[in-house]
């Protein structure tokens, strides 16, 4: 072989090599997995907000919240000695919740009520920060508003839920020094968590809800499933009324409940809902303003050990459809079962029109406006009684009206996670007995505030402190 030929071969091979070594950058910039991306568009942020709805945990409809633990902490549930013996003994969470013991979370390494609500807050912060960095075109303004408004609303909603467990009950005179919840206002995970004061907690909740009002739209008249999954102005007004109720600011309670009802006030007539003993009310029914539910949170696997407090059923008049449609006995266990939630088997924790009426009524009663308070009660109750059997309520003074409203809250808003908040704000006392031992929750009790789970304190390296 000639030298020239050798050179030709070598050069050809080398040129081929040069060829294969070029153009490399494209591959390195490709995504390793097509389903992942760095969030950057308004649509990405809306996807994230819609991901909270069901996506975080499983494919269940609507936003999860975790207030159901409150049902078990309140007088709405109880248990039997037999269940207590077989299931509660030795279980710190069950016995702790039953007796409001401060060790209730000691065995846990994770508590959905804490972890998932803060996870939802993280989503809201990521979206809120991300969307702020986008300057929307005019055609994108409504999409931008929805993502931003939703982020604020949902963060407020989570803060509110958390405050009902871990912030001391609101007391205007001590709110500035009482311990509130941890407020995470940014997505930066390296920021240290510290507890705020009760005042800061509530101001933050109010500011988030009020902030969302700028961006949210009125509930659409189409009354669609979407309009209930994504928050509306009516939902934000309702949430503000709830917040002020916890603070005892009744003017705002009345005003915001009224604002919400101005936007949406459809009530279900229980004579026509077609509920049977084994099917609860439909998801996204007409009374729902904002859909939110709880699949028992950390309590999911234990719910069967509890039974609805049979005292509840006695509160209802015999003509009250709620008594006959929703309560029945389990023949094998003898326990009472309640089945009237608005979430088709899960626990509804959203905002519905009945609650708005009751909040407006309570606000008015507190403010001394007896007549409008009673009128709201009657508007609601006529839809709850068998047709033709309801006798409108009357009251001559605001205190009677208030007591009627509070009784009605207990009957109408059962198992919505609201009873625990009522017990806290009203300073109600609860007594429970198991195996002959009685535990009592009394007005002003420190047990109104749940202990911070020890694993949270440990994971924060102690920057989060226990409620004294």
């Amino acid at each position: 072989m000639t030298m020239k030929m050798k050179q030709i071969i070598f050069i050809s091979l080398s040129i081929l090599m040069l060829f294969v070594t070029s153009c490399t950058k494209d591959a390195l910039n490709k995504k390793p997995d097509i389903t992942i991306a760095t969030p950057s568009t308004i649509a990405d942020y809306q996807y994230l907000m819609d991901g909270i709805e069901g996506g975080i945990i499983s494919n269940a409809p609507g936003l999860y919240s975790y207030c159901n633990l409150g049902n078990f902490l309140s007088d709405e549930y109880t248990t039997t000695d037999a269940y207590y013996t077989s299931n509660f003994s030795g279980n710190k969470l069950l016995t702790g919740v039953f007796t409001w013991n401060t060790n209730m979370f000691n065995d846990l390494t994770s508590l959905a009520e804490w972890n998932y609500q803060y996870k939802t807050i993280l989503y809201a912060n990521v979206v809120s920060e991300g969307i702020d960095a986008i300057a929307p075109k005019s055609t994108e303004q409504s999409a931008w508003n929805l993502a931003k408004g939703m982020a604020l609303f949902i963060r407020g909603q989570m803060y509110y839920n958390l405050s009902q467990f871990w912030s001391k009950p609101y007391n205007a005179s001590t709110a500035k020094t009482d311990m509130g919840i941890v407020l995470r206002k940014s997505s930066n995970a390296t920021e240290v968590s510290v507890r705020s004061s009760v005042e800061e907690t509530y101001q933050q909740i109010i500011s988030d809800f009020k902030g969302s009002l700028k961006y949210l739209t009125n509930t659409s008249t189409a009354n669609s499933q979407l309009s209930k999954i994504r928050p509306s102005k009516a939902a934000a007004y309702g949430a503000l009324a709830r917040t002020y109720l916890a603070m005892g600011d009744y003017t705002n309670v009345r005003n915001y409940a009224d604002s919400a009802l101005q936007l949406y006030s459809t009530l279900l007539d229980y004579n026509t809902v077609g509920v049977t003993a084994i099917s609860s009310l439909a998801n996204f029914n007409a009374e729902t303003v904002f859909y939110c539910m709880d699949q028992y949170g950390s309590y999911g696997s234990y719910s069967g050990y509890w039974t609805i407090n049979p005292d509840n059923q006695a509160l209802y008049d015999n003509n009250d459809l709620r008594k006959t449609l929703f309560f029945f006995k389990n023949v094998s266990t003898g326990n009472t079962i309640w089945n009237g939630d608005y979430a088709n088997g899960y626990k509804f924790t959203g905002i519905a029109v009945d609650e708005l009426y009751l909040m407006r009524a309570e606000g008015n009663a507190k403010l001394g406006n007896t007549a409008p308070a009673i009128a709201d009660l009657n508007t609601l109750l006529v839809k709850r009684y068998k047709t033709g059997t309801f006798t409108p309520l009357t009251a001559t003074d605001a205190t009677t009206a208030l007591n009627l409203v509070l009784l009605e809250r207990r009957k109408e808003l059962i198992c919505r996670g609201l009873r625990w908040s009522d017990i806290r704000r009203l300073g109600l006392s609860v007594t429970r007995t198991a195996l002959g031992v009685t535990s009592t929750l009394t007005a002003g009790d420190s047990k109104y505030t749940l202990p911070i789970p020890p694993y949270v304190i440990s994971a924060s390296n102690g920057t989060i402190t226990q409620t004294p």
Partner: protein, 1222 residues
């Protein structure tokens, strides 16, 4: 013949062995300067390649000097030969032992001819030489007729060619082929080939080679003469060429730490899979022992293995596997399956252990590298056909050797539970939410006594009969078989002047003990062309098809489904319905049937045979064309493209006679008025399909330079560029209501509506338990990874004694987030070796081989895919969200500081060989330090995430690897060799940030602790049994306590006992090989030590169960505390009452120090037996080699530090024939 000594196949032991004491010197004229290596390797590749081309073209103009100028007085012969080699470029092949007796040389020549000079030098020496093809073979006079060899022959009329092989059919290199009565001869080439021209009057050829018995062969008019040489007495030790996957180099020049497993050693085992065959074959390579009690079969099991312990904490821990130069990826999410490779196609496996060896593989080589080289064809070789036919037999597992309690003991517990009222709730005469559950036969009998329908005596008699039964007899009878595997393998290799090939076809048919099967067919084809001189074009193609699966009901053979006295067939041998722990009571079954639902009775034998299957078909296609061009001056360029496609499809079918499916359909079936049934899940079978496709595209460009520069210098260098792109596409689908006959299926499944559970309706219990039909998953997955790497590696050898090596590699990948930041990683290594035995001052004659080497370098590791530097989200389709909205979820928060993991490793090694290699081997010491290791730590959940992943950890490790080969006895007929492997490895966490002040007080999840091994065993402090109650006791605040809940929740980290490492810190093997004539027997004994494990023991909460006893308990039950005083002899807690039974009590005991044991053990791994027929002595034999082999996978403990009962592992016997046709 000694099969235990690792040696590279196909080398004439004598001649090539001494390539490490000689080597190929080549000289260039002074005026040509070699290519300058001043430019840094990691300059942009394009530029470098251009420079190289220029340099190469310059160098290619050189010629060799053929004349010798030399003046030496009383110089050692070796030194003189070195000089000649340097001046002429001729290679000298000889052994150091040969030169030991040589006389000093006096010479003074100027511009003399090579032949003249050699004749002068060899005059009066006890040595001879022959010249062929730029090589000079030096040998002892005794091995050859006492005539001087004359220089190469003048062209003659007859050409004879052929191949010289050893008894195994492996070609021998460097064999001298001499025409008897003349001094004309040649030596065989790298493939054992020779070509020689003879005169008509030449009668006989003499084949000789150090280490082999020389042979005279009559020509008899033949033109092709193939010869098999048998190993002689003066056999020399290890000859090795190490392969780094893209480069081969003589072991002598290597600075790094390698272990080589050649095909002989590799084929000692008859295991069907590669990994199983590697067990106990290389020091520093740990394969987990078979200790899982439930692991009935070692066959087909992927052993976990690691090289030199852990190098990472959370990232991939398995070594990188390279097959013929390209990564083979089988760990998730990849689908390549190493078991698709036919072990018979493997030529050798090199384990790259240290940084210098592995760093060239860059960021993926942090855990070491396994380089697998497959067989290739040989030039100028007659077609050689070899085959291997074998069978393996694995008997049924020994179920009776497990830790189960006896039937009588379990019945005793059942009686006690019944007396305590445990089963009252399951009384089927009351309808409640539990009465559909079945209870055991014994509990039913006792209940019948209570209900007054059976007399106590009758019940006792029946129970006494039951206590003699054991369900394991039926399990073995109906659900297990003796496993038989067959293997057929044939290959042809050969080649002509310009063409070589290797073709192999293999077929394996394995039938497992539990009726699982695996069939593998593979075709491997390598064609290499040499169209013009120095140009080699190679076209390897492999295809393999692997089908594995099972057609039986796999779940029924778990005996925790049944009571221990269950009988699967009646007295006449007919399959019968049994009480199935997950099934239903008879009352329920009858009610369900009456409503028109599926019959839910459970018949194990029928269920086992019900129509169903799971099968996985994997096809692997590899095409790897390459082109290589070499210049005579040492440069070569090579371009390889590699395409591998793996297609794995899995199908799972269950007919609606399978109980679980019937149950699922029943649960959703809605019972309307007049028992009209509606089916949210259609009746019929289910079909799940999944197809995973992995396509790998690799391109590699290599520029090699292997040459001598000047008198004492040699450079071996390579620079290369590598590009890999891998696509993974997965599609999966599942259907309900599948009808195999009609091919119909349920296209629409309502998975939103929540249906009430039918079981309550069947029992008329008004409970609302609702759930939606779960979808059979369907979806797609797409993944893409790209690696772009450039690398260089150079070794410089001075005077054949000192070698310096260095390597560097830069890797870029698309895996670090979706942005390009921080993708590039540069890893490097340096090393040096010193051949002390080559020094002039070295005179230790009993230790002729001594080499010191050391390396230091950085290895990398790839984090798992979930680690991203930027915040990422994943999109999900609206169909998976019941709100009907498409959505996204946050995968991770941003981590702008994320870096690649890296591990620095220092290796110091010593290779040695005592005279005649009576003892030879190596000792390596290494330390490694991992920085920037990626770890996950607990985050304050208030941040929205409960854990965070980043570069937070550090670890260090060190160890020693020893390989020792000894020749204990070596006579003409009988040999006894021993191979000892010893490895020690310790690791320790050096950092794990941030260390939480608080931690979760569970011993099975103690966080990584600085100063402790990565995998450690911790336990609760044990205070013995309470003498009054037999309760296990621990400590609370230093005081003995039985408050288990408090012990579990408040034991602090400092109170927890640290027992020791969980991974063996010492392991190795001892293999003895005996051979007598053609017989060969070897046994491998493995050992491991310096680690701890948790024994299992009785867990009463599990034993008591719910509706019936399904746990088999634990034999420790018989050792339980029963009365005061027992605590002196036992640590096994007393049996509590149902009311006092607590899972915390069991948990405390299980994780207490009482159940931690030292894991040290010695195991007889296997025995291999073979007989080689001396085919040369059989007239007319069609075989050039013929071997009968047997292999016994013994897998039995010879000694254990703690005599803890474990189910006997499976044993396998294999036998077969390996032969090569003439």
């Amino acid at each position: 013949m000694n099969r235990s000594v690792p040696h590279s196949s196909g080398k004439c032991k004598g001649a090539l062995h001494k390539i490490h004491t000689t080597q190929m010197y080549k000289l260039y004229s002074e005026n040509v300067r070699p290519y300058s290596r001043k430019s840094k390797i990691l300059l942009r590749m394009k530029l470098t390649i251009l420079l190289m081309i220029v340099a190469v073209l310059q160098v290619s103009a050189t010629t060799f000097a053929q004349r010798i100028t030399l003046t030496e007085k009383n110089a050692p012969l070796e030194k003189v030969l070195d000089q000649i080699s340097i001046q002429t470029g001729f290679d000298f092949l000889f052994t150091s032992t040969i030169l030991k007796g040589s006389k000093p040389v006096n010479i003074n020549v100027k511009n003399a001819d090579l032949n003249e000079v050699l004749r002068t030098i060899f005059e009066g020496q006890p040595l001879e030489f022959s010249i062929a093809d730029k090589s000079v073979v030096v040998s002892r006079k005794e091995t050859l007729p006492a005539e001087k060899i004359q220089p190469a022959p003048i062209p003659q009329p007859i050409t004879i060619d052929g191949q010289v092989t050893n008894a195994k059919g492996e070609p021998l290199v460097g064999v001298t082929v001499l025409i008897k009565g003349t001094n004309r001869g040649v030596i065989t080439d790298a493939n054992g080939y020779y070509k020689l021209q003879v005169n008509l009057n030449d009668k006989t050829l003499i084949f000789s080679c150090v280490g082999m018995i020389w042979q005279e062969v009559t020509i008899n008019g033949r033109t092709v003469i193939n010869v098999v040489l048998v190993e002689g007495i003066s056999k020399l030790g290890t000859v090795s060429v190490v392969s780094t996957g893209y480069q081969t180099l003589p072991k002598e020049r290597a600075t790094g730490s390698f272990a080589i497993i050649d095909s002989t050693l590799f084929n000692r085992s008859a295991a069907p899979n590669i990994l199983n065959r590697l067990n106990g074959l290389a020091s520093g390579v740990y394969m987990s022992a078979v200790t899982t009690p439930t692991d009935f079969s070692n066959q087909g099991r992927t052993l976990t293995y690691m090289i030199r312990g852990l190098s990472t904490i959370n990232s991939t821990q398995s070594p990188l596997v390279i097959v013929d130069g390209f990564p083979y990826r089988s760990t998730s999410p990849y689908y390549q399956d190493i078991n698709s490779l036919n072990p018979d196609d493997i030529e050798s496996i090199t384990v790259l252990k240290d940084a210098a060896a592995a760093s060239i593989w860059g960021a993926r080589a942090g855990n070491g590298v396994l380089v697998i080289t497959t067989k290739k064809g040989k030039y100028n070789q007659k077609p050689t056909v070899s085959f291997n036919i074998g069978t393996s037999i694995t008997p049924k597992p020994d179920l009776f050797s497990d830790r189960s309690m006896s039937t009588a003991d379990i019945i005793g517990v059942e009686r006690s539970l019944y007396a305590q009222g445990k089963y009252a709730a399951y009384n089927t005469s009351v309808l409640n939410s539990t009465s559909w559950k079945p209870i055991s036969q014994v509990a039913s009998l006792l209940m019948a006594v209570s209900n007054g329908t059976l007399s106590q005596a009758a019940a006792d008699a029946q129970i006494a009969a039951l206590s003699k039964l054991d369900v394991r007899n039926d399990l073995l009878k109906y659900f297990y078989q003796t496993a038989i595997s067959q293997k057929y393998d044939v290959n042809v290799r050969g080649g002509g002047e310009k063409y070589k090939y290797f073709l192999s076809a293999g077929y394996d048919n394995d039938n497992g003990v539990s009726y699982n099967y695996q069939k593998r067919a593979s075709i491997n084809m390598t064609n290499t062309f040499n169209p013009i001189k120095n140009l080699e074009i190679s076209l390897p193609l492999t295809y393999s098809y692997n089908k594995q699966g099972i057609d039986k009901g796999t779940s029924v053979n778990s005996y925790s489904n049944y009571s221990p006295y269950t009988q699967f067939a009646d007295a006449n041998g007919n399959p019968q319905n049994v009480i199935y722990s997950n099934g239903y009571s008879n009352m329920f079954i009858t009610r369900a049937l009456s409503k028109g639902l599926y019959n839910m009775s459970f018949n194990p034998i029928t269920q086992f045979n019900a129509p169903q299957y799971t099968n996985t078909n994997t096809t692997l296609t590899t095409l790897s064309p390459s082109i290589k061009y070499s210049l005579p001056n040492g440069f070569s360029a090579e371009l390889t493209y590699n395409y591998t496609k793996t297609l794995k499809s899995t199908e799972i079918y269950q007919s609606d006679s399978v109980w679980n499916l019937k149950n699922n359909i029943n649960n959703y079936t809605q019972i309307g008025t007049n028992n009209v049934l509606t089916y949210p899940i259609n009746r019929g079978g289910t079909l799940n399909e999944r197809v995973d496709e992995q396509i790998d595209n690799n391109v590699r460009a290599l520029l090699n330079y292997n040459h001598n520069l000047g008198a004492d210098h040699r450079i071996d260098a390579v620079i290369g560029y590598d590009r890999n792109e891998t696509h993974i596409n997965s599609n999966y689908n599942g259907w309900y209501g599948y009808n195999t006959q009609l091919g119909t299926l349920q296209t629409l499944v309502d998975n939103v509506t929540r249906y009430t559970n039918t079981n309550y309706a069947i029992l008329d219990v008004p409970l609302t338990m609702t759930s939606a039909v779960s979808t059979i998953q369907n979806g797609i997955y797409r993944q893409f990874t790209a690696f772009v790497s450039s690398f260089g590696n150079a070794a410089y050898t001075y005077k054949n004694r000192y070698t310096l090596s260095g390597s560097a590699r830069g890797d870029e990948a698309n895996i670090f987030g979706v942005s390009t930041n921080n993708k590039k990683k540069i890893l490097w290594s340096v090393g040096g070796s010193w051949r002390i035995d080559q020094e002039a001052f070295y005179h230790i004659s009993w230790l002729p081989t001594l080499k010191l080497r050391t390396t230091y370098g950085m290895q990398g590791n790839i984090p798992s895919f979930s680690v991203q530097s930027l915040a990422t989200i994943s999109y999900y389709a609206s169909t998976t969200n019941s709100s009907g909205l498409p959505y996204a979820q946050l995968n991770n928060l941003p981590n702008p500081n994320l870096r690649w993991e890296q591990t620095g490793q220092l290796n110091i090694g010593l290779d040695f060989g005592v005279k005649n290699n009576i003892v030879s081997g190596s000792i390596d010491y290494y330390t490694k330090k991992g920085n920037d290791l990626i770890g996950t730590f607990v985050m304050d959940p208030s941040t929205g995430i409960s854990s965070y992943t980043g570069n937070v950890a550090g670890m260090k490790g060190n160890g020693v690897d020893v390989t020792l080969n000894t020749k204990n006895i070596e006579t003409k007929d009988f040999k006894w060799n021993t191979r000892i492997l010893f490895s020690q490895n310790a690791d320790e966490v050096t950092a794990y940030y941030p260390t939480t002040k608080y931690y979760q007080p569970y011993v099975n999840s103690v966080p990584y602790t600085v100063g402790r091994p990565i995998n450690s065993i911790y336990s609760y402090k044990w205070a013995g049994l309470d003498p009054l109650s037999g309760n296990p006791q621990g400590y609370v605040n230093g005081n003995i306590s039985t408050d288990y809940s408090t012990i579990l929740s408040s034991t602090t980290k400092s109170d927890i006992v640290y027992n020791g490492p969980a991974n063996p810190t010492i392991f190795g093997s001892i293999m003895n090989t005996f051979s007598y004539k053609g017989f060969n027997i070897s046994a491998n004994i493995t050992y491991e030590g310096g680690f701890y494990y948790r024994m299992s023991s009785i867990n009463y909460s599990n034993l008591f169960g719910s509706n019936m006893i399904t746990s088999r308990g634990d034999i420790d039950f018989t050792k339980r505390w029963q009365q005061a005083g027992d605590e002196k002899f036992t640590n096994v807690p007393s049996m509590p009452t149902v009311a006092n039974s607590s899972s915390n009590r069991d948990y405390f005991y299980q994780y207490s120090s009482a159940l931690v044991a030292k894991g040290d053990n010695i195991r007889l791994q296997d025995i291999s037996l073979s007989y080689d027929l001396n085919t040369s002595k059989i007239k007319g034999s069609p075989f050039s080699s013929f071997q009968l082999y047997g292999y016994y996978l013994v897998n039995t403990y010879l000694w254990r530090a703690v005599d803890y009962k474990l189910q006997t592992p499976s044993q396998t016997i294999s036998f077969g024939i390996r032969a090569t046709l003439k």
